[in-house]
Symmetry: C2
Subunit: 409 residues, 2 copies
């Protein structure tokens, strides 16, 4: 994740008057307690670019405009600098002190964003000191054109809502997370292991396989596709080591046996957990399965209501595996479709489907909702890899996330 | 084509009483003038299996039941042999002399076929001697359950209609032509060259590419996919020669330059011309472009009415190329959707689309309709390969069809 090229990171410009609390809000979003060194106001009008990670939104660049706030006159220089920043931003975070009013400054930024079709998330900060009234919300909405999010950077109240608002307002291009291309160099060979079984659509490939091939080609690498039975022969035909072997989870053990130990090995499920959500959070969620006790409530959530098959993954297999690990029965609940149950905090774990029918944005919103309730979340793919004991090997392309499995906590 | 394993060939059992003209009908269907050696009636009750080619239906096995016609008594042996044949057939050709009536024999066969859900094509033969009346047709339909085709094996009248009826009645499994798997041995490497251009669907592959990969995997071979820029590097990574390189036509010249001369090279268009139609006929059709004269009528037929793009293939590019070869303007006509124009015989050439929206069966019916009018037919893919001078190389996996290009005629 840390190797995300800066060009792919979501660029969020943060605007606000001097006392709106921009820096403390950035700290709250990034979970960093270390204070960001404040620029001495007035000494520079250059915005500061800070690459950082907002979990689970992903890698971002915060464009901190602390130096170009409205303390000076509405000078030409300030306007020019602001426009410059707006040209470089993917979205704008407009921060206001909930205790202060909305001025021409904020309305000007909001208007410019509207003209440029830049998404804006408006924040009423410091609600610990000044609770937000319905009237204030209404006024902000009318003047800025967007519903504001009420937060306190100090108490962290509302920070989850703000992350969700960021994800939901992010521009369409932000959904374009790469599947595997960022892990490959041009000219690398990725071997894809695809078992042809009865469940595969006749004469076709399933969509994740197709998307992975395309992503590999888009990144100037090469995709070598085989059935699991031909993997050994495939590696034998190559006179250089493949960079990575990506297998269907079904064939993981066979792929593991036939992949040289120094070649990265992962599964489509792991790649898509990362592509569609936040792999780090989901791996941490998998680890929490060990801490479950008989009788704990576990929510199994599916994004769509598909036709249930015999030996269904969500209603039969996953409960069975979790029971085996816990050594007793649990209180499983199920939800499907768009809405989660109201009281998420009652669960000890949420197990979410692979989200093939929802996009990254929606899956991340769901992950954040669950996190906001203080509950760990895992998805089907990561859960299955965990209970089958293959998660560590399947995380070989992601050593930092692999370490989560070893962390004491 | 001649290497089609016998198991994949459509098995057609031909039933009929002794004088119905079964053997001459087989000769008419296969275009063979050499007489099929008749079995001496009564000497054997074993059916004779004859592998042959019915153009453009494809490779078939005719199960000739000459020895088990109804000349003997309705004996138990005859019934047993008939049932045996019905168990091995994919469909039944039931031949009657148009001048003779429909007897219990034909009705029995038709009824058994119905019970087994075997498709039946009923033929009223010898219409040169006994023209068929509307009443006879009606009677045949009522007694046998199918509309009969009236033919004369002698004059070849109705033989095209019979071929179309065969194609249309063939069982669903017959559509399952292989794309490339029959050209590969298990363990072979096929390299697929896929240019990523603006026309490619974002994050996906186009269906023919997906179907080709799947077909390769289904045949225990390996599919190595690269963009045209990486082809050279891809071949360098292999320590054995790929069996075949399959390229998008757009990248043919680059692929030709980077493929070792002793490796088979073809295009998706050529494979799909074979998969969706009859490559031999379409290549012969391409060759006939040379014989066109300015002013000749050419029909450009598309199976669907798609949105026409600028520089559209059917209305702009293909006419331009053909004009350049002919050295003058031609009288182009266009048709789209399900029906061809009535009078096909007026055209000197039919250029058909790649038939991505229709199946093999429908495309073959169309090819036969055009052939019945004595007109050559080519499809877009084969036509483009021809006018661009790459057809010979693209036919390298099909040496027998390649020879058509050299034939004097």
């Amino acid at each position: 994740m840390n190797s995300t090229p800066r060009g792919n990171r979501l660029h969020i410009a943060i605007f606000g008057r001097r006392n709106a609390g921009k820096s403390s809000l950035i700290n709250a979003l990034t979970n960093q307690d270390i204070a960001v060194v404040s620029n001495v106001p007035g000494t520079t009008t250059d915005p500061v670019y800070k690459a950082m990670e907002i979990l689970p939104v992903g890698p971002v660049v915060m464009i901190d405009t602390a130096g170009i706030d409205d303390t000076g006159e509405l000078g030409e220089l300030r306007v020019r600098r602001s426009i410059e920043v707006l040209n470089k931003a993917d979205m704008v975070l407009l921060v206001m002190d909930a205790g202060a009013g909305i001025t021409e400054y904020e309305m000007d930024i909001a208007k410019r964003c509207q003209e440029k079709k830049l998404p804006v998330v408006a924040v009423l900060n410091k609600i610990d000191a000044s609770p937000v009234t319905a009237l204030q919300r209404q006024e902000a909405k009318e003047r800025l054109g967007v519903e504001p999010v009420a937060v306190s950077a100090l108490t962290r109240e509302g920070i989850s809502d703000l992350k969700i608002a960021l994800v939901q307002a992010a521009p369409p291009s932000w959904d374009e997370q790469t599947i595997v291309g960022d892990l490959l160099n041009p000219g690398d060979v990725a071997v894809l292991v695809i078992p042809i079984d009865l469940a595969a659509p006749k004469g076709r490939l399933i969509l994740p396989q197709v998307q992975t091939i395309r992503d590999i080609l888009d990144h100037d690498a090469m995709a070598y596709m085989v059935k699991e039975r031909e993997l050994k022969e495939c590696i034998r035909t190559l006179n250089k080591k493949p960079r990575m072997v990506i297998t269907d989870s079904q064939a993981f053990l066979k792929a593991d046996a036939d992949t040289p130990p120094d070649v990265l090995l992962t599964s489509f499920s792991i790649l898509f957990a990362r592509y569609k959500g936040d792999l780090e959070t989901l791996v941490a969620g998998a680890k929490s399965i060990e801490k479950l006790r008989p009788g704990d409530k576990v929510l199994i959530a599916e994004a769509c209501s598909h036709h249930r098959m015999e030996d269904d993954i969500g209603t039969v297999k996953i409960p069975r595996w979790i029971r085996q690990i816990v050594g007793g029965d649990l209180d499983f609940h199920w939800s499907s479709g768009h809405r989660f149950p109201e009281d998420l905090a009652q669960y000890k774990l949420v197990v979410h489907c692979g989200s093939c029918m929802i996009n990254r944005r929606e899956m991340l919103s769901r992950i954040m909702q669950v996190q906001a309730a203080g509950v760990p979340i895992v998805n089907y793919g990561v859960c299955i890899a965990y209970v089958q004991g293959i998660l560590r090997r399947a995380l070989s392309p992601f050593p930092l996330i692999q370490e989560i499995l070893d962390d004491e906590d």
